[in-house]
Symmetry: C2
Subunit: 339 residues, 2 copies
């Protein structure tokens, strides 16, 4: 069943059928209705491979998600899909592991699907630096910054990780905590010149401390994967290492949830014995006992701005770099202690 059959059945040439199918204006009403009738009758569906071969490229978006168990990303994907649908386009989603290279997958997808644009949820600066030049379609990196990468076809929408962590750490410090353990994901040098989210958040911790005239020791931080199990293990390490610790800041909620259980398993209680604060604002924190305090990333904004910017870029706009604000969410997991 091809366009040729439709041509035959309708008495028109394949070119005319193609024009009707693509809604070109220069076709007679008669031809249009006759052909459409045949299409309907035969149940004809155009072969998209053939179509795209000529049109050089697909008409959908790709969303590459780094981290298969990341609840925050899940929510963003969901939101993005409905936005993309509303814009009359389609999207296919690819997942990859935290440790895999999203840019390599991007290159592959770019060539296989020839998408209109790609949305990266999460990403590592180094991967982009190395190989992103291989991707020539409009792209947006979401939740991580890309401004200092300087690619003309790569925008970014991120949250202010330094500020968010500053707020989280600040909340603990202001509640009187002085011995704060941190569950991070990366124990490299703390600097703003790197895109590592973990480091940016550690930098926020440092700033919050210094602002209050306190010293921040990078050694307070333990590395962990972005998972409940990772948080669980990291919390155990912290508990062993710092017996006088009174609070933990986990740089993601899933880690915090793991930590919550670890603390419980050590016979301690949150917040009575130990305060705990997470980061991300995933739905699940509201169902924890105690409800976790956290820094909420605005899922809706991240999704909306990401899709919006990509759409504009496809229409020829320049790459832009936006930062979406974060908000402190008060839970039940932080106790105020007296000096």
């Amino acid at each position: 069943m091809t366009i040729k059959d439709v041509a035959q059945h309708s008495g028109y040439a394949v070119g005319t059928v193609s024009r009707v199918l693509n809604g070109h204006p220069d076709v007679s009403e008669e031809a249009r209705s006759r052909i459409l009738a045949v299409v309907e009758e035969l149940g004809f569906k155009p072969n998209s491979n053939a179509r795209h071969l000529k049109q050089r490229g697909g008409n959908g978006f790709c969303i590459l998600v780094k981290g298969t168990h990341n609840m925050l990303f899940m929510s963003i994907v969901e939101e993005m899909q409905s936005l993309i649908k509303r814009a009359g386009r389609s999207a296919s989603v690819y997942y990859l592991n935290e440790d895999d290279n999203e840019v390599e997958l991007g290159i592959q997808v770019y060539h296989e699907q020839k998408p209109l644009g790609i949305l990266f949820l999460g990403g590592n600066q180094d991967n982009f630096k190395d190989r992103f030049t291989r991707i020539a379609c409009p792209c947006v990196l979401v939740t991580a910054r890309a401004d200092m990468l300087g690619f003309s076809n790569l925008s970014s929408v991120s949250t202010d990780d330094v500020e968010g962590a500053k707020q989280a750490m600040g909340a603990l410090l202001d509640a009187g905590h002085r011995k704060v353990g941190i569950i991070g994901s990366d124990s490299g040098e703390i600097t703003a010149n790197t895109g590592s989210i973990s480091r940016l958040r550690l930098l926020g911790c440092q700033k919050a401390s210094e602002k209050r005239g306190l010293t921040f020791y990078p050694q307070q931080a333990v590395a962990s994967r972005y998972s409940m199990e990772g948080g669980y293990q990291a919390a155990l390490i912290l508990l062993d290492r710092y017996p006088d610790m009174t609070a933990i800041f986990a740089i993601s909620d899933v880690m915090a949830i793991g930590a919550l259980r670890a603390i419980h398993d050590r016979g301690l209680r949150v917040p009575e014995d130990l305060s705990l604060i997470g980061y991300d604002g995933i739905e699940q924190v509201d169902y924890c006992v105690p409800r976790l305090s956290t820094i909420r990333q605005d899922v809706e904004q991240l999704a909306r701005r990401g899709v919006d910017i990509l759409l504009k870029q496809i229409d020829g706009a320049q790459a832009v770099h936006e930062i979406v604000s974060v908000a402190f969410i008060q839970g039940e997991s932080v106790r105020t202690i007296r000096a």
Copy 2:
């Protein structure tokens, strides 16, 4: 950058390049290495549209996931992706809401991508009954049954929902509970002739009760969405309705997690005041306080069998219908009470 460029640079004809690219055996080692070197050097990527045009259809799989926040499905998808990759194929994933029609999306995807096969994670019998005939490629429905649907290109891999629920309910009854509330998703008639997972699980509850000479009242069950919030609200309703209830069985873990918080908010404790058991075996139950007892669905088996069956079907095998066993996982959320 096309296969033609590679041919030119390597000094071979396009046909030979194509054969190398596709791993055909009848190429000299010399040609192979020379061509591969050029491919590498030029960074050539074949145009999959052109490739598929000839091959009549895509070479990848599609995974349609019903429910964007379903942790169980997330895990299955993850597992499937690595299996598909290992089989030398690719997969793109599409998410749709719990209430949307997966078969309609399937039809769309079927025409747009011409996939080798489609994996449905979750699905509603009625949707399949109505429109599945429009999909002509091999398909597998995972976690729901399709045996009584009788489509020749639709296999299924499911778990024994009746048996699983029977075990869950049985565990509560054997622990001495007599007033058991149920959080389901569907309040229709309980029968085995429907594919509704909720109803099958309710049927399991009924069987567990009757086996012990107890009467089961469908009114014990309250409907809920498959979400934490749904479970939270449903638990509140149950708590109001059955003040003498001593246990709750939620037919999914996410519902159970919501219920856990609801019970806490009513000033009750699990398992001291109320026992609780979930279903699915998602990772998160292990980090709850208390750790939730649940029925574990074998994610790995579901994924492995699903992909396997699809692969075989693509090679011409008939549709099959398999059932993967479930296991009771002992947590800390069920208390034994004396009569």
